[in-house]
């Protein structure tokens, strides 16, 4: 077998333009590490400088604090804000996926959308009432709920309008954060909603649960009883600590895999009804318009989707050679079953390795080794879920859902909702990365 300069054989290539077998990440990891090392030497043509003891290692370090701040070198890892001065309109904060790794979004970087600011709720005074078509209406304090059996689960929460700039007929030049920053993933801990509904005793006429928040606009959404009884949760904790104010402190509804707006924050009221309320948000914002002028209603589920975070727009590839392509995949339809990656603009695809555990309705990180030879490349990812749903190609998506008439200029706008097609990055010989369509 012919060995390339980096020590990897030609047979390790499984798809065009240098994509290598995901198996190299498993059984032959040592070989890759060694190869990368030898490549670095070969690439620079110089030896490393002699090592010396660093200044920071020869003096007393910082004093430990009760709540740890990040390294001062990580200040650039932050959310981007749509309304930093809190003007009387919606405020969005987007997660910097291109600067993070793994699957858990740190709490202070979890995306938020708040329409009237986050209310300053006193947890000792907050109440959750459950009423409507039930045998016995009930009201719960946080302390009462905290005594229930707790359940933890990973779940992504994604705004139904996330990725909206990709409705543009021309690819917007923007980071993963700007394009896909309105999705995040966390471990949520709380009480199954079905437990509370069973205690209240749902009337057979009950088909919907209207959830309402304690924010200034008393934001409300209609949740099908089917989902409420299946896997919905009154979440009290986010990644082990109480939920952040912007994510609904002290409690939010979690409807795994359903559009973020339905995961009502600052939850204070649940009303069982025989019909949907057709609230403002479900009547207007989250009913996407179709090319023929009709519109979908009750879209609810965020469908299977993936995007490459590393490398991506906003960074530049250095010298050619070995590197890894990785990103996140998730689906409201269940577990991710497969992610394929291309490096030649979709001519050939190779399966990426999925980092386990693969949880339903949660981020799954995928990886695939890649040997970039320094020539132009177009990388993209495509995901499948366990229910058999597949992330649509752009041509398929546009045929069904359309594009905007003019190129999207405002990256903060929402020309439409529920985009789940591919995101592709074009890499030039000089390592520059552009957003492209394939």
């Amino acid at each position: 077998m012919t060995k390339k300069k980096d020590g990897l054989g030609a047979l390790d290539q499984v798809a065009g333009n240098g994509l290598m077998s995901r198996r190299l990440l498993l059984g032959r990891g040592a070989a890759i590490a060694g190869a990368a090392g030898s490549l670095a030497l070969g690439g620079t043509g110089a030896n490393a400088e002699p090592l010396k003891d660093d200044e920071w290692g020869r003096s007393q370090g910082t004093t430990t604090k009760e709540v740890d701040p990040r390294s001062r070198f990580e200040d650039k890892v932050k959310r981007t804000l749509s309304n930093p001065n809190g003007e009387p309109r919606t405020q969005h904060a987007r997660t910097p996926h291109h600067l993070l790794n793994g699957t858990v979004t740190p709490n202070h970087l979890h995306f938020t959308i708040v329409h009237t600011g986050a209310p300053d709720i006193d947890p000792a005074q907050h109440k959750l009432v459950l009423h409507g078509l039930v045998k016995q209406p009930l009201v719960f304090t946080l302390d009462q709920l905290a005594r229930y059996p707790m359940e933890s689960r990973m779940a992504f929460v994604e705004c139904g309008g996330n990725s909206a700039p990709l409705f543009s007929p021309e690819p917007v030049q923007a980071t993963v954060q700007q394009i896909h920053g309105l999705v995040s993933n966390a471990e949520w801990t709380g009480v199954r909603l079905s437990t509370l509904l069973d205690e209240a005793g749902v009337d057979p006429r009950g088909k919907w649960v209207i959830a309402e928040g304690g924010d200034m606009s008393a934001l409300s959404r209609s949740i099908p009883l089917k989902k409420a009884m299946d896997d919905a949760m009154i979440a009290l904790y986010q990644n082990g600590e109480r939920i952040m104010p912007g994510n609904g402190y002290p409690m939010r509804l979690l409807v795994p895999g359903y559009e973020g707006n339905m995961n009502v924050k600052w939850l204070r009221r649940l009303q069982v009804t025989d019909q949907p309320a057709m609230t403002f948000h479900e009547s207007r914002n989250y009913s996407p318009v179709l090319p023929d002028g009709k519109a979908f209603k009750f879209y609810f589920m965020n469908e299977v989707k993936s995007f490459i975070t590393h490398p991506s727009f906003g960074t530049t590839l250095g010298e050619p050679g070995y590197r890894e392509i990785s990103g996140v995949a998730y689906s409201g339809g269940g577990r991710i079953s497969r992610v394929a990656v291309t490096a030649d603009g979709g001519k050939s695809w190779a399966d990426a390795a999925l980092q386990g555990p693969v949880n339903p309705q949660a981020f799954t990180r995928f990886h695939i080794p890649w040997r970039w030879d320094g020539s132009p490349a177009v990388i993209s990812s495509r995901a499948w879920d366990e229910a058999g749903n597949v992330q649509p190609l752009r041509s398929e998506f546009v045929a069904a859902r359309g594009e905007t008439k003019e190129p999207v200029k405002n990256l903060l706008g929402f020309p439409n909702q529920h985009y789940n097609s591919l995101t592709s990055w074009g890499i030039a010989s000089n390592g520059e990365i552009k957003h492209v369509y394939i």
Binding site: F140, Q271, K297, R401, T404
Partner: protein
């Protein structure tokens, strides 16, 4: 204790338990629908929970000038915030066509529900039920959805036919 004895006791426990939910903590405090009272603001499309009272566009116009015009502009034409009155069509303007009450909303009850719960920004839930009826009548009349002078109340509002009501497709019927 033998396995069969234990199984027998378990079976007995199941027979004694009145229902499955008896095994959950049941820590909620009982409350009556009357006491949910001030929080129960949701209006359903069939008119359920619409309050007593009524209003007309003429009454609504005065309230609009006082409490709404600063954000929604003269006659609801929009700016700096949402357009409330517009005859601009939805169809033929692409997937990004601005959605308005006239060209998009399927239920007139939504107008009542949203004004009552969220308006006027930033003093929500300060309007009387009658004021909300009047503002709803004003907005629907300006949009030429109801005949001039139509009184809006718990009976008439749910019967208003919104122009775009038949243009919706349920995306996931099996999820409902």
């Amino acid at each position: 204790m033998s396995i069969s004895k234990r199984a027998g006791l378990f079976l007995a426990a199941c027979l004694v338990a009145p229902a499955a939910f008896a095994q959950t903590p049941q820590l909620g405090t009982k409350i009556t629908e009357v006491d949910v009272g001030a929080w129960a603001i949701t209006v359903l499309p069939d008119g359920t929970n619409l309050p007593k009272g009524s209003g007309t566009a003429a009454q609504g116009a005065k309230i609009y000038e006082e409490k709404c015009v600063a954000c929604h502009n003269t006659g609801g034409k929009g700016g700096p915030y949402a357009t409330l009155v517009s005859e601009a069509p939805l169809q033929g303007r692409g997937i990004e066509a601005p959605k308005t009450i006239r060209n998009f909303w399927a239920n007139a009850t939504t107008v009542y529900d949203y004004i009552r719960r969220a308006m006027p920004w930033p003093q929500p839930r300060t309007l009387s039920d009658e004021e909300v009826y009047a503002l709803v009548a004003y907005i629907l009349e300006q949009n030429k959805i109801i005949e001039p002078g139509t009184v809006m109340d718990a009976k008439s509002l749910p019967q208003v036919k919104m122009p775009n009501r038949d243009n919706f497709i349920v995306k996931f019927p099996d999820k409902i």
